[in-house]
């Protein structure tokens, strides 16, 4: 008995010990498995982010292109003059009279056949709710109601202050949502899960409602409707995408034109103004500051509260009113000696090397100085600051060129500008936005937090800054705040705390890069102001997948985008590879491959880790680079009659191309003439040093099935080369012979990413 029990115990103990050890073994193995997945997930994330931000840098480069254009393009003919006019008619400030014309909705009749939602004003809560439901059922709101709603929204927004205040005394619960980027499903989900807005349920939407996703206009309609119905409890902040220039590139303009073929232009015009009227920030209980991007070390809430936000049309271009332009222009002309000098004025960036501009922005003298051509000498400018300054002078150049375009040969005279009639001062108008004010707004709409202390220019985005925990602390103390809520950056979990929990990033567009890429989240605040976060992922399909499957799927999408980018730089890559292959063996080591790829693409990605998925065959640690590049091309080429180098060029520049097309197509008809297309291409290729002949491009253009009347359907052109996703699947089958099912990633202007 005794002995058998002890033996029994002994065995039992041994078994338990074995089981314990076995468990440890399995856990070890499993943890390694999870770590590898995590590494893959992180790499995938890096790919998407680096491609996204590279796209935004592109935007900066595009503006450099326009400034180059201003310098070097002298219209020789009436056609070219018209061309220039068309390019830049977008840049005019909308005046009150014009606004009335654009918001004239009453003349628009709603046919009996219309089955979508009807709106009547003043709006009632039921209308807003009905709107959500209608959109959920994929109905489209008639243009008349869109315009009417926008008109009312604009009226309402115009009387709001720059910084709105909310109190938890009145609304017990305040829900703050981040970027939605046209993803209506997420908005509907939020209302479903959290409840519709009401006097007891306040909402703040923190910018970036539009672009990228496919239902931006519907989101705006819903948000504006609730804003009109619950003006005290429903608040919107402006994001960097509430900007007509951004919309040209990132898809909102295109969406509106596709959905509203007849009235789209009107809608876009009034939207441009509505965006300028969006408030800049929201303050809860004087303790929690909500704004879209972030802050900088010079953020001045008092200045932000005072400035005239309506004058800040776009954070991408610093515009001042025509009047001042004219004054400055006259001044400059007066100062100018014999003007054989057609070289770049000193205040424009001469080339890529940062010139020694004697200018210290932020000083009081600065904004006065910016309005005249004589400048006090001070410190050197940072390169990005210079770029912004350059942009500001681009507008002056713009004026100059427009003048020359309109009055060839007589630009020396003090001819009044065609737009003079519009440049009258309205009594009681606030002062112009100064450079300093403009920068304040850029900072709050574009900045990102960083872990390091300090404040430095945000070179990745090309605007705003990176701000450290000390900057946050300084600001919170200065204005006696508890913490900051911002958005602007996609986070895998939909939210992220940083700076010792003093900064909360909230991002509400789930599956932003790809189905399964990230969750969305919103945050609720009660009287205690402690944040309560709710996460979600608005796609049933992903719930069924295991983590491994989800990561694989997103990874595949990222890799596809990356391969496309690699293809787009084939020529440069070949050159770089050749440098590593002095003996002309046709082979390079994988290490050299990684170095070469990084030096061409500048994406900062872990190439060695990604290599197994990007390079299929390598023997002895070496790669036959020519055949690798060929394989890349094979994947991308959909048509045999296109030279791969041409396609490569198109790919690389497609976002810019599309943006330019949309600017040229100023009446938003979707068509540009073959001539305009040729001219654009000519300019573009000379600036970008692209080695493609005009004939080649023209042949290409003609090879697409146009109606042969000399006009190009922009969308057809871009789609034909898989440069953008096919037109929306909702019933509009693109008439394109080469339908593809490619997911267009990266800098694409439409679709999910």
């Amino acid at each position: 008995m005794g002995s058998s029990t002890s033996i029994h115990h002994h065995f039992a103990f041994q078994n338990a010990e074995k089981a314990f050890k076995a468990a440890i073994l399995i856990q070890r193995w499993y943890r390694r498995y999870v770590a590898r997945l995590e590494m893959r997930r992180q790499c995938t994330w890096s790919i998407f982010q680096s491609i996204e931000y590279a796209g935004q840098q592109d935007q900066v480069k595009l503006h450099d292109f326009f400034s180059y254009l201003m310098d070097h393009f002298t219209p020789d003919s009436h056609q070219e003059k018209e061309f220039l006019d068309r390019m830049f008619t977008e840049e005019r400030f909308p005046q009150e009279a014009e606004m009335e014309k654009y918001s004239d909705y009453e003349s628009i009749e709603v046919p009996d056949s219309y089955t979508g939602p009807h709106l009547s004003f003043p709006l009632l809560p039921d209308h807003a709710t009905a709107l959500v439901e209608a959109f959920r059922l994929k109905q489209q709101l008639h243009a008349r109601y869109v315009l009417n709603l926008l008109y009312e929204a604009r009226k309402h927004l115009a009387q709001l202050p720059n910084i709105n205040r909310l109190s938890t005394c009145y609304s017990e619960e305040i829900t703050v949502c981040g970027d939605l980027h046209g993803q209506l499903d997420d908005l509907i989900f939020i209302f479903y899960k959290n409840g519709l807005p009401s006097p007891e349920r306040a909402y703040v939407f923190n910018g970036d409602f539009v672009d990228r996703g496919k239902d931006s206009i519907e989101i705006l309609m819903v948000l504006f409707a609730f804003m009109l119905v619950y003006p005290k409890e429903f608040h919107l902040n402006r994001g960097n995408h509430e900007d007509h220039l951004m919309n040209l590139r990132y898809g909102f303009t295109k969406e509106v034109m596709q959905k509203y073929k007849v009235h789209g232009k009107k809608i876009l015009r009034i939207l441009q103004d509505v965006f300028c009227w969006l408030p800049l920030a929201t303050l809860i209980d004087e303790k929690v500051l909500i704004l879209h991007g972030g802050v900088s070390d010079r953020t001045d809430l008092e200045l932000l509260a005072k400035l005239d936000r309506h004058k800040i049309v776009s954070t991408l271009r610093y515009k001042i009113r025509k009047e001042n332009d004219r004054q400055t222009e006259e001044k400059r002309k007066a100062h100018q000696t014999s003007s054989a000098q057609t070289s770049t004025p000193w205040f424009l960036p001469q080339s890529r090397s940062p010139p020694s501009l004697p200018f210290h922005l932020g000083s009081d003298k600065a904004h006065k100085a910016s309005l005249s051509s004589s400048v006090p000498c001070s410190a050197l400018l940072e390169h990005t600051e210079l770029a912004w300054l350059g942009r500001r002078s681009v507008d002056q150049e713009l004026e100059r060129c427009q003048q020359r375009a309109s009055f060839p040969g007589i630009w020396e005279k003090e001819e009044p500008l065609p737009q003079t009639s519009e440049a009258h001062t309205v009594p009681g108008e606030l002062p112009e936005p100064t450079l300093q004010e403009w920068r304040q707004v850029v900072d709050i709409l574009w900045s990102d937090p960083m872990m390091q202390e300090g404040c430095k220019a945000n070179t990745v985005r090309g605007g705003g800054c990176y701000f450290g925990p000390d900057v946050t602390e300084q600001l919170l103390q200065k204005y006696n705040l508890q913490f900051l809520i911002r958005s602007h950056e996609c986070k895998p979990e939909g939210y992220e705390f940083c700076h010792n929990r003093k900064v909360l990033t909230i991002f509400s567009a789930s599956n932003y890069y790809e189905v399964g890429s990230n969750r969305g989240a919103y945050v609720k605040l009660g009287p205690s102001l402690s944040p309560y976060i709710v996460q979600y992922q608005a796609n049933k399909a992903t719930h069924m997948l295991t983590m491994r499957q989800r990561i694989s799927r997103v990874e595949e999408s990222a890799l596809r985008a990356l391969r496309e980018k690699l293809f787009a730089h084939s020529s440069d890559l070949l050159d770089e590879f050749k440098k590593h292959d002095a003996d002309k063996t046709g082979l390079i080591t994988l290490t050299d491959w990684a170095a070469a790829v990084e030096s061409v693409l500048h994406l900062g990605l872990p190439w060695r880790m990604l290599r197994p998925q990007l390079v299929n065959s390598s023997m002895n640690n070496t790669l036959e680079y020519r055949s690798w590049l060929k394989d890349l091309a094979k994947e991308q080429l959909s048509r045999e009659n296109i030279q791969s180098s041409l396609l490569e060029t198109l790919y690389r520049n497609r976002s810019n191309l599309e943006t330019i097309f949309r600017i040229i197509d100023s009446d938003h008809s979707g068509f540009i003439s073959l001539d305009e297309f040729r001219q654009t291409w000519k300019l573009f290729s000379s600036h970008m040093n692209i080695d493609i002949t005009d004939d080649c491009i023209c042949d290409l253009a003609r090879s697409i099935d146009f109606n042969k009347d000399g006009h190009i359907d922009i969308n057809e052109f871009l789609e034909a080369f898989r440069l953008v996703e096919q037109s929306s699947s909702e019933g509009q089958a693109a008439d394109c012979p080469q339908s593809t099912n490619a997911n267009d990633n990266g800098c694409s202007s439409s679709g999910a990413p």
């Binding site: 070890r28 999870v34 995590e38 872990p606």
Partner: protein, 200 residues
């Protein structure tokens, strides 16, 4: 300094072939260099600020993705060796899977410190991954009925209550991939095979 090469002359029929062969020293150096690149890249993936530091909570992920398979205890010891005070539980979970509300220690590991430690780990081939057959045996030990299956409850119990317990969330993940929807049990042989496919 001894030369790094010595030549070896095998005879191949009538031909004499001179073929350079690397000494152990040279081999070590070569591996060393390769290790450095690998380690650097893995480190940089988590160095979000490009400051040559990573959050200490990501170290487990980095070490594991470099091919090592330490247990939680071993990981803790390794870090303790290097003078890093960490809660041993928090090291294993990837940052993205943690509830931020938990009280967590903060700490950073610098690349300069990490590199020599990790190089040593790789050179010494510490924390080698587990061969498939050993893994299978481990499962078999837990399979008291010896039927080739583990019930969901059994697996949960062993994984979350013994050894280095894994979290609820990780358990759910493991189950989602492993479990047979109909029988609610885990055919561990199949499971292992499926998971190892990813291990290329």
């Amino acid at each position: 300094m001894s030369s790094t090469f010595r030549t070896h002359f095998p005879t191949l029929g009538n031909t004499v072939v001179a073929r350079p062969v690397l000494t152990d020293e040279a081999l070590d150096l070569l591996y060393h260099q390769n290790f450095t690149k690998k380690i650097k890249e893995a480190f940089e993936v988590f160095d979000h600020e490009s400051k040559n530091t990573v959050d200490v909570r990501e170290i487990g992920t980095i070490i594991r993705s470099l091919g090592c398979c330490p247990s939680e205890g071993e990981l803790h010891d390794l870090l303790a060796e290097e003078g890093c005070e960490v809660w041993w539980m928090s090291v294993s979970l990837p940052l993205s899977k943690r509830f931020v509300e938990e009280l967590e220690p903060t700490g950073y590991i610098r690349y300069e410190k990490f590199l020599p430690v990790m190089t040593k780990v790789l050179l010494e081939r510490r924390y080698r991954p587990i061969p498939e057959d050993v893994l299978l045996q481990a499962f078999e030990v837990l399979d008291s009925a010896k039927c080739g299956f583990l019930t969901k409850e059994e697996l949960i119990k062993h994984m979350t209550e013994e050894g280095d317990p894994i979290s609820q969330e990780e358990m759910e993940e493991m189950l989602s991939a492993a479990i047979h929807p109909h029988s609610n049990s885990i055919n561990y042989k199949e499971y292992i095979t499926m998971m190892l496919i990813d291990e290329n």
